[in-house]
Amino acid sequence: MSITIALAGNPNSGKTTLFNDLTGSSQYVGNWPGVTVEKKEGRLKGHKDVVIQDLPGIYSLSPYTLEEVVARSYLVKEKPDAILNIVDGTNIERNLYLTTQLIELGIPVVVAVNMMDLVRKNGDRIDTNKLGEALGCKVVEMSALKGQGSLEAAEAAIAAAQEKKQGEHPHVFTGSVEHAIAHIEESIQGRVDAQVLRWHAVKLFERDEKELQELQLAQDLKTHIEQHIADCEKELDDDAESIITNQRYAYISRVIDRAVKKKASRHALSVSDKIDRIVTNRILALPIFVVVMWAVYTIAMGGTKVSIGTMATDWTNDVLVSEWICGNLGAWMEAIGCAPWLTGLVVDGIVAGVGAVIGFVPQMLVLFFLLAILEDVGYMARIAFIMDRIFRRFGLSGKSFIPMLVATGCGVPGIMASRTIENDRDRKMTIMTTGFIPCGAKMPIIGLFAGALFGGSGWIATSAYFIGVGAVIVSGIILKKTKLFAGDPAPFVMELPAYHIPSAKNVLHATWERGWSFIKRAGTVILASSVVLWFLQGFGFVDGVFGMVEDNNTSLLASVGNVVAPVFAPLGFGTWQGAVATFTGLIAKENVVATFGVLYGFAEVAEDGAEIWTLLAGDFTALTAYSFMIFNLLCAPCFAAIGAIKREMNNAKWTWIAIGYMCGFAYVVAMIVYQLGMVFAGHFGVGTVVALLLLAGLVYLLLRKNKYQDSELRVPVRSVAAK
């Protein structure tokens, strides 16, 4: 017989950490709430017949958010054999709110108080026996991160499931409420299972819409129930939902008084709070964010003494790829008598393309490592909070920013993370703008230009990141003022987890996963497209005869590229190489770099020991390079991300709107940057005028009055920075 144990708890209480520990899997442990709405299943290590189910984090069982709907319908409909309720011990009052609801479900519950390491460090004491008595269920202590008590918690849940014993329902509510609930129980008896009678009665008392829909009660029964609710409301002079909420909290505070001893007084600020005072300060928050990101990009991709990533990348490029592989491989192949075309294919095609991309792996690893630390420490959750404050002013929800934090790794999961946004318009808008954030694959493009044309300044990558963030904010504001996207912001509960020392396992795992998949792609997709490109740039018509060409400017690829290139001329990079790279970038963004590697003969230049990207630098100025970079960062994402957009939009028209918008926006921004930049170089022409008009148009769209917004912005009730 198999047993199913569901892990339920607030976001960030450590469910996934426990899940990974118990099942031996390596699910993503995010340190911000609300990236996932799915439930995951695994088997308990050493117990093949025990299924562990990880649920999305929830604060309550009311159906306000998608997470709540998913978790609630699983618990009520699929009825696991036991619930293991993970409670964050450092935040026990708020966490027990959900507990009071879970014990009404009629499923055996075991409460596991997690983060005991922190509780002890704070000097607080939690008496699990008293807590268990008060709640009517077993309570255990654990520290999922340290692996202490995890297995015991699981075993307690198994035991509870086997006993099938559900605890006594504790007296959570006062007399008149219990009275009304008892009457409701009586009237719906027989319509629902006896076990869940109380749960349904409480929900009916709260006039829960989903519940009313599902039970389909007859009209006279409804009136009867309504009478009891109204009586109680009159007596307590409050509405039913608030009565329940308030009494739950009152009950919890009685329980806490008995079972928990806090060392610090309630009002003392914790270290996290003190840090947050500065980090999320209204004025300082953004500058600090900029400085933090600048530091990250300087260490990963800058050209200073601390830029570990760049040093390693330079070594791979200059020594490993250029000298050892390109130089020696080419000479060796010639020596053993390989035909020149084969040497060309291998050295100028495969090695040049794949090598150009592989060279950036060290920079990427360092970048991912630092970003993973920022996330695990808890800083990224603050960013979402800061962004929520900015977004909310424009009728947007900060919930739209969580997918973008995910997208710094890769756009595909970022786009998928938009599912947590309930509001259809906001979700569509988030899908459209998430791709603006520079993902890992776009990093080589930035690294390439920063190195070749900007002396490796860390500001190039930092500015690229903030152009992405800015594009999201600007698009959000512009789109929200159009008819298609107008509407109130979705409610967003953003709770800031306490800062903590990053876990080496989480950080290294995330870094490795991303780095390895990048290397794998270099060896497959990039390799294949380098070979194709090498052929295309190596053949063409010379004097009317088709064959190999000496100069790739006369190749077939060049003539095709030259047809498209004028489209990009107003952006400053109207060369056929630039045009071709922009299109091959659709296969995967790092392919832009591989394409340049093949087209500019990365390997050949390297053989002379010269600066490897000098030829490329010759075709670009700092300004055109920057404009090229902006366009390629913001324009249509790679095919994989386009596929994700299509799946999430589930509609061809909207997919095209999204892609069209991204390309259009990229074109406009790159053009404004290039044309206005040219003014500083003393050029003034038709292009300048067009760019100025576009800029004026953009500013107008940004600043115009929002016709669709109510004169008074309705701020949702539940926007809190808890703790």
Binding site: T23, G24, S25, S26, Q27, Y28, G30, V35, T36, E38, K39, K40, E41, G42, R43, K45, V51, M333, I336, G337, C338, A339, L342, L345, V346, I350, V406, G409, C410, G411, V412, P413, M416, A417, R419, C439, G440, A441, H509, A510, E513, R514, W516, S517, F518, K520, R521, G523, T524, V525, L527, A528, V531, A588, A640, A641, G643, A644
Partner: protein
């Protein structure tokens, strides 16, 4: 004939090796595509929504 072969042996072997690598790459790309894998650059293990792509590969034994 033999002369031609021995003169071009290195090229032949090299070309065969390159062809083999390309065939392997093509096979891998097609297989990943069929399995709906490797679409994104993040790696699926660290993806918060991995379950959407591989609903069956969830239980711990598959890893």
């Amino acid at each position: 004939m033999w002369l031609w072969l021995s003169e071009n042996l290195a090229t032949l072997v090299g070309a065969l090796a390159v062809a083999a690598v390309l065939a392997l790459v093509a096979w891998k790309i097609v297989r990943d595509h069929r399995r709906h894998k490797g679409g994104c650059g993040g790696g699926c293990g660290s993806c918060p929504n991995a379950g959407f792509c591989h609903p069956d590969a969830q239980s711990a034994e598959h890893r």
